[in-house]
């Protein structure tokens, strides 16, 4: 029988042991329906999710809700929006209770006296030209000033086809301000003209992402297996799609057969009652979805499928480590 220890040498086994019992139970929370930007290609607004529910404004209800979430076993709160930093009291309600990650466009600085080690993920959509086209302004200029040298911050660099050949200039800029970066891809169905991936471009960007990881290993938080999965949409020969996605809200998951999935995962709307279907928009075509966290989780929940060869298991470990670093379960 193949076991983990039969596949790994001492070095890899030690790495495996650091993550094997983390038992991360995440859920995603829309903190608000509002944002201080209107980006072309943001699924939250393009799919009308900001109109699905009226946001809860009574902080005592947020407090009670989070207590219930903890009782449900959640040990990682992923805060998205709208723009969460418009509602610092709600961020604080999560932060004082459990490990919390806050996605933001970085325009508003999180006060480090109030949130000393809150993990902040700043969205970035490319160079100043593409940022201006898609988001109306070069957000990096502002976010880099806000978060320079911050050890609890990374950039979530959403790569578009127009960034082919240009990723290095972005990675260098991020390195130069002393912050980490994680890469993901824009999904095709966000309806932005000229920003849809073609098969050849996906091959090229995979190679470019690999190069960035090799060249800037202290800055880029990633893994080549993740690059393979996200660009090909395949894991161990299986295509990603609705019947494989691990990030579907559990109480409304009626799939049969039920795939390996995140335990107890829910994506909550900001009224604290409405559940979204999954970690991204319901209008998205799952077969071409490029959501980075969903693809990472897809690998992570399929652990046993990777206990086949040494290389498969090492790939699994690297993806799990990447996720654990991005959400501060292990150090950079």
């Amino acid at each position: 029988m193949i076991t983990v220890s039969s596949l790994l040498d001492d070095h890899w086994y030690a790495r495996y042991k650091k993550i094997s019992k983390l038992n991360i139970r995440s859920s995603i929370y829309d903190v608000t329906d509002r944002c201080n930007l209107r980006c072309k290609g943001c699924f939250f607004f393009s799919s009308g999710e900001h109109e699905v529910a009226k946001e809860e404004t009574d902080i005592t209800r947020w407090d009670a809700f989070i207590e219930k979430e903890m009782a449900r076993g959640v040990n990682l709160a992923i805060l998205i929006g709208g723009e969460p930093t418009l509602c610092m009291d709600r961020i604080e309600a999560f932060y004082k209770r459990l490990p919390t990650f806050c996605a933001t466009n970085g325009l508003i600085k999180v006060d480090r006296d109030r949130f000393p080690d809150l993990m902040v993920g700043i969205s970035l959509w490319g160079n100043p030209e593409d940022e201006t086209t898609l988001r109306g302004k070069d957000t990096f200029k502002i976010s880099s000033a806000n978060y320079q040298g911050d050890p609890h911050t990374y950039y979530l660099y959403t790569i578009t086809p127009k960034q082919l050949g240009k990723t290095e200039e972005i990675i260098k800029k991020i390195r130069d301000i002393g912050v980490k970066v994680h890469m993901q891809l824009l999904s095709n169905d966000e309806g932005v003209d000229g920003f849809s991936w073609q098969p050849r471009e996906l091959v090229d960007i995979r190679s470019e992402m690999d190069d960035m990881l090799d060249t800037y290993p202290d800055t880029v938080i990633s893994s080549k297996y993740y690059h393979e999965i996200i660009t090909t949409g395949k894991m161990l020969g299986r295509p990603f799609g609705w019947m494989e996605c691990p990030s579907v809200t559990e109480p409304i998951d009626k799939r049969d057969p039920r795939p390996k999935r995140l335990t107890n995962f829910i994506r909550w709307a900001s009224d604290l009652q409405t559940m979204h279907r999954c970690c991204t928009s319901e209008t998205r075509d799952c077969s071409t979805c490029k959501d980075g966290a969903a693809h990472m989780s897809w690998v992570m929940v399929n652990k046993r499928a990777h206990i086949k060869t040494t290389k498969d298991l090492q790939n699994w470990i690297e993806v799990y480590e990447m996720f654990a670093k991005l959400y501060q379960f292990i150090p950079w």
Binding site: M1, I2, T3, V4, S5, K17, S20, K21, N23, R258, K260, R261, T263, V301, K303, R304, H306, I307
Partner: protein, 85 residues
């Protein structure tokens, strides 16, 4: 009593082998102290499936909160024996 636990241990090993479709192992060669989570990658969904089979066979309900404790075949066998007593 010891005989019962030994029989239960073998049967649980058999259930796990069948449910997880494990290859190159029999109930007799399955190490009852092997860490199921660490060494063969069993997760809470696998445990839920196994718990259903055990419920049907032994008439006991395994509380989901107990899953993290059930890390080896020997521990599961003891758990079932205790619950059945």
């Amino acid at each position: 009593m010891e005989n019962d636990i030994a029989k239960t241990t073998l049967r649980i090993a058999e259930i796990i082998i069948n449910e997880l479709k494990l290859e190159d192992v029999t109930p007799e060669t399955f190490d009852p102290d092997l860490d199921l989570v660490d060494e063969i990658g069993i997760d809470s969904m696998d445990l839920a499936t196994i718990a259903l089979v055990l419920r049907d066979e032994y008439g006991i309900r395994i509380d989901e909160d107990d899953y993290p404790k059930l890390t080896t075949v020997r521990i599961i066998a003891q758990y079932i024996t205790d619950k059945s007593a």
